[in-house]
Amino acid sequence: MEKYVCQVCGYVYDPEVGAPEAGIAPGTPFEDLPEDFACPLCGVSKDNFEKQ
């Protein structure tokens, strides 16, 4: 599964880790993240992420 990087603050979403602090379980691919997913570090929306 591919990692995605927040273009604003550099946060890396690793699907194998998920984002527990945002309630996202490990193993969740980026595409499956909810539309209202916010970067856990800087709060911007999903469309600010790009494939690493």
Partner: protein, 664 residues
């Protein structure tokens, strides 16, 4: 020794200036220095807001100790973990081990990274949490990426203070000031405040907008940032700039022109373009990228609507200083600009294409085509290309090219002095309505046309009752005044109104012309009778044109001209006569001033004694205070510093500006 500032009775600035720092954040020159702000609140609990850079630690600790004045430090609120504010946290917790730290989860994580795990002394807060310190209740809001992800701001509901971390800060040492209103911020500080914002926070416009939205719901009386001034008035002026900067809208319709030139040819092209732009009314800011640090140019790029980059080609690429600048501008997320590119290359000019690639991802950005190329040096062809570019930019900024009106070397003025030289006669104008006679003074009668009948024209002030009556009846007489007409005639017909008085009440002449209208048989030498054929309202006056149905020469006395009236009839300012108390010799007239004549007095002139003197009481001529018309001499008795604004002379209709103070 402590060096603090009082913000409020219970809020103190405990920060310091740093004037030795050569580059802020390792890159931004700060020739005016920089300040690090920290605040202490003395409520039932004591609260410290952030700390300072390590460079000013000594003064900071002296300040905190002084303000606490023996009390313990209950809380440290941390808004921002950048070391220019957070570096001294570690030393603070050693000095004040009992202090509780209030911060959010991300700040807690960074504390662990910079210093050590401080969990045992941290009280975590989340977005919207509130804590009361006694009189003051603070609410915490997150401001992610303004300009770091962990940033928190707090709002004191009691005194309506917003602690904004780095937002609303500026470069520049405070130099003894603390409030923005103690300096001329918009004039002297805005450039550095812009350079601070655009370089440090510029990339995070959307995040700043989010915070501004949150803050717009709050009533804010004080803004306390971590650099620069505390705002307690006119904050809107600064906020307005933040709204523009954070939405990437330019402040100014103008050009930021930056060039990279090695031997001066590209510079020459840039200079020529700058001149052409200013000729067309376009404001220009210009920078040599070899000399001016990028932060100044980035700031100018945020300020201006149009950007022009001129670079020579170097190592088959963009000259290094320009390349660095353009990367910087792109990294700062600048948007919504129009960009023009100029390139130079003695063999393979390619910088233009590469500059375009570098800038092409900027949102909302348009390139003004085409890139202008020179080979080593500008030519005549370059001049016309630069003209075309300047025209295109000017069209956006100034509008359609207007043919500039030649600057007038001569300004047409209507000078009152000239009018006094026009030559007129002076006449008494009369008319009749039913059995009532009316009359007024004019100086505007002339023969308008020959022919059969001949025509006469008169211009009469609309406010004159005679004018109204002529409009009503359509008939008038003109009696031409002679040089021997006394001022009394002007007072009789000019200083009173037919609305209130019968101006002919006391006259002993009853002469009338064939049309039944009165005329003056005294002080005149001719009379004309007219029937109005047309009238034109000119605003303050009406022009009547009439057929002359009777014209009589009365005598050959010289006519009074307007100039003669001014020179000889109009009263001059009179000296005020006054009679002092004393005794006058009945024989020779000698006057002795005094209340009592001595019993043995001898007249120095005729040697007669007191029996030939008569007592003369003091006479103060009652001075009438008022204003005299400089045009016609009419005196208005008036007690006041100036006539009312709507006052007009009853005789000549001029306004109060043609009156001067006088006594009669």
């Amino acid at each position: 020794m402590y060096c603090t500032k009082r913000i409020l009775d219970d809020l103190f600035w405990v920060g310091a200036d740093d004037r030795r720092l050569s580059c802020f954040e390792g890159v931004y020159g700060v020739p005016e220095g920089v300040s690090y702000n920290s605040y202490v609140l003395l409520d039932e609990k004591t609260v410290l807001f952030d700390t300072v850079d390590k460079a000013v630690a000594k003064t900071f600790f002296e300040n905190v100790k002084h303000v606490l004045n023996g009390r313990k430090l209950d809380y440290l609120v941390i808004h921002h973990m950048e070391p220019d504010h957070a570096a001294t946290i570690e030393d603070l917790v050693y000095r004040y081990p009992e202090t509780r730290i209030i911060c959010n989860a991300q700040i807690k994580k960074l504390l662990g990274q910079y210093f050590f795990d401080m969990s045992d002394r941290i009280d975590l807060v989340k977005e919207g949490d509130s804590i009361s310190f006694g009189k003051h209740e603070l609410t915490f809001v997150n401001a992610p990426m303004v300009h770091w992800p962990e940033v928190m701001m707090s709002y004191d509901k009691t005194d309506k203070i917003l602690f904004t971390a780095d937002a609303f800060g500026t470069f520049g040492a405070l130099n003894g000031h603390i409030f923005a209103d103690e300096v001329d911020f918009m004039h002297d500080w805005l450039d550095e405040a812009r350079r601070y914002y655009t370089n440090i926070v510029g990339k995070y416009g959307p995040q700043v907008q989010n915070v501004l939205k949150k803050a717009s719901a709050l009533e804010i009386n004080y803004v306390c940032p971590l650099h620069g001034f505390v705002w307690r008035s006119h904050f809107g002026d600064f906020l307005e700039k933040y709204l523009l900067w954070s939405s990437y809208e330019p402040e100014v319709k103008g050009v930021c022109l930056a060039y990279a030139s090695v031997y001066g040819h590209t510079e020459n092209m840039a200079n020529i373009l700058a001149g052409k732009l200013v000729d067309r009314g376009v404001p220009v800011e210009m920078f040599d990228t070899s000399v001016i640090p990028a932060s100044y140019i980035v700031s100018s790029a945020f300020k201006n609507s149009h950007l022009v980059f001129a670079s020579t080609t170097y190592n088959a690429g963009i000259f290094v200083t320009m390349e660095n600048l353009l990367h910087d501008i792109a990294n700062h997320n600048l948007q919504n600009r129009k960009i023009a590119l100029l390139e130079n290359g003695s063999w393979g000019p390619t910088s233009g294409k590469q500059m375009k690639e570098l800038l092409s991802n900027l949102k909302g950005t348009e390139f003004i085509e085409n890139t202008i190329t020179i080979l080593s040096a500008p030519t005549e062809k370059t001049m016309s290309e630069l003209d075309a570019l300047a025209d295109a930019i000017a069209k956006d900024i100034v509008g359609e090219k207007k043919v500039a009106a030649p600057a007038p070397v001569y300004k047409a003025e209507v000078s009152n002095d000239a009018f006094i030289n026009l030559t007129y006669g002076v006449e008494v104008l009369t008319t009749k309505d039913g059995d009532k006679d009316y009359g007024c003074i004019i100086n505007t009668a002339f023969q308008a046309a020959a022919g059969d009948p001949k025509k006469m024209a008169i211009s009469v002030i609309n406010k004159n009752y005679t004018c109204e009556m002529i409009k009503k009846t359509g008939v008038f007489n003109v009696s031409v005044l002679t040089e021997d007409a006394p001022f009394a005639i002007f007072e009789q017909f000019g200083f009173q109104s037919g609305r209130n008085v019968d101006k002919f009440a006391d006259v002993d002449y009853q002469d009338r012309t064939a049309n039944g209208l009165r005329y003056l048989p005294v002080y005149t030498n001719a009379v004309f009778s007219c029937e109005v054929t047309e009238s034109i309202d000119l605003g303050p006056s009406t022009l009547f044109i009439g057929n002359i149905i009777e014209a009589k020469k009365l005598n050959s006395d010289p006519s009074c001209t307007y100039a003669y009236y001014h020179a000889h009839i109009k009263p001059k300012k009179q000296p005020v006569a006054e009679q002092k108390e004393g005794w006058r010799c009945k024989v020779c007239g000698y006057f002795y001033e005094g209340h009592e004549l001595p019993a043995d007095f001898v007249c120095p002139l005729c040697k007669h004694g007191p029996e030939d003197f008569e007592y003369v009481p003091a006479v103060t001529v009652k001075k009438k205070k008022g204003f005299i018309c400089k045009i016609c001499g009419y005196f208005e008795e008036y007690d006041g510093d100036e006539l009312p604004a709507d006052y007009t002379c009853p005789l000549c209709n001029h306004g109060r500006e043609d009156f001067e103070p006088a006594e009669m």
